[in-house]
């Protein structure tokens, strides 16, 4: 029996690792380009070993030796993940509608945005919509809770009238608790008199 020299053993581990990068990989993680240019990162941990992916197509293979960083490309993404990416739901879209002071009546500009909300909903096979009403800081909490709720319900009713199923539209009111523009009590602020709509 011949005992392998130390050199050979290291060599064979190196060879094994090289083979493993493809053959015994138990999975892959690839960071994709971010559509809106936001900062993006994913950490890949295997036991006490960690690789941080920060650039588009930065990738890691899981191997018995821990995650191995490499650079992927659009072809690999398409061949391995084409079906998963094709099943990606449409991205949620947000709209903001503004109201006349003290009322549940839309401003003229916002009436036109409602049309865009309708068309966004009709593009989606199973839309669900969240409507959150807000007020400015004029009046009591009680009054603003009711008004914010009324604003959200008015939009909800319009969407239902347009044909979206009632169980797919949720309306809530948050009163004056979440201003876009913080103000003192009692200050009229048009940008806070709004409903925010998320179409999913």
């Amino acid at each position: 029996m011949t005992r392998p020299r130390r050199f050979d053993r290291w060599q064979s581990i190196g060879l094994l690792a090289a083979l493993c990068s493809g053959a015994c990989s138990t999975g892959t993680v690839i960071l994709l380009p971010e559509e809106s240019g936001r900062e993006t990162a994913v950490s890949v941990r295997q036991g006490d070993k960690e690789v941080l992916l920060k650039e588009p197509y930065a990738a890691a293979r899981q191997t018995p030796f821990g995650p191995q960083a490499y650079r992927s490309n659009p072809d690999e993404v398409q061949s391995t993940f084409g079906a998963a990416l094709a099943a990606q739901p449409m991205r949620p879209l947000q709209f903001t509608l503004y109201f006349v002071e003290g009322k549940d009546e839309l401003t003229d500009e916002s009436k036109q945005i409602v049309e865009r909300v309708f068309s966004e909903i009709s593009r989606r096979p199973v839309p669900d919509v969240l409507i959150v009403g807000h007020t400015d800081a004029v009046g009591t909490d009680q009054l603003n809770d009711a008004l914010s709720r009324q604003r959200a319900e008015t939009i909800r009713a319009a969407l239902i009238a347009h044909g979206i199923a009632p169980e797919n539209v949720t309306a809530v009111g948050r009163g004056k608790r979440e201003p876009v523009v913080p103000t003192a009590e009692g200050v009229s602020e048009a940008r806070n008199r709004r409903v925010e709509i998320v179409v999913r």
Binding site: V42, F81, A84, Q88
Partner: protein, 149 residues
């Protein structure tokens, strides 16, 4: 249960607190895309994974050899799995007011594409995806991951 038929006292209570009222409290997401064979394991039962089905914590989605499925979560994250995949929604908690929460998903095998949502934006590692050999800490936003085979 449709929102409009919620019991009146509950509505008033939620209204007074200014809280979000969801159709069912346990709902965390919805299947938006479903192709080929897709099923959901929930409490030991197997349900068809059709478009429109509302999802709950601990649901396990499975796709067949011709299957794929796309899910939108209530924090606006998007998860979609390719064929021969097993995706578990292990832990999910999202506060629609503060946008804080936790989301732990598991890809036991197959392929998964992720666009992270509000939860991942709020804190590093608030969203994780586990595979049989690794843990991904999601700081944002778009990535793909495969597991097994």
């Amino acid at each position: 249960m449709p929102f409009s038929s919620s019991p009146v006292p509950a509505l008033i209570a939620a209204f007074a607190l200014g809280l979000a009222v969801s159709a069912t409290a346990a709902e965390i997401g919805q299947i938006k895309v479903s192709k080929g064979q897709v099923s959901i394991e929930r409490d030991g039962r197997v349900l068809p994974g059709n478009v429109g089905v509302r999802l709950e914590t601990s649901d396990v989605l499975k796709t067949g050899p011709d299957g794929s499925v796309g899910v939108t979560m209530s924090d606006d994250s998007l998860l979609s799995a390719g064929p021969n995949s097993i995706l578990s929604l292990d832990r999910y908690d999202f506060d629609p007011v503060t946008h804080k929460g936790v989301f732990d998903a598991g890809l036991r095998k197959g392929s998964l594409a992720v666009i992270s949502g509000h939860i991942a934006k709020q804190a590093p590692d608030a969203m994780t995806v586990r595979t049989p050999t690794s843990i991904l800490g999601v700081r944002g936003t778009e990535f793909v991951v495969s597991a097994g085979d």
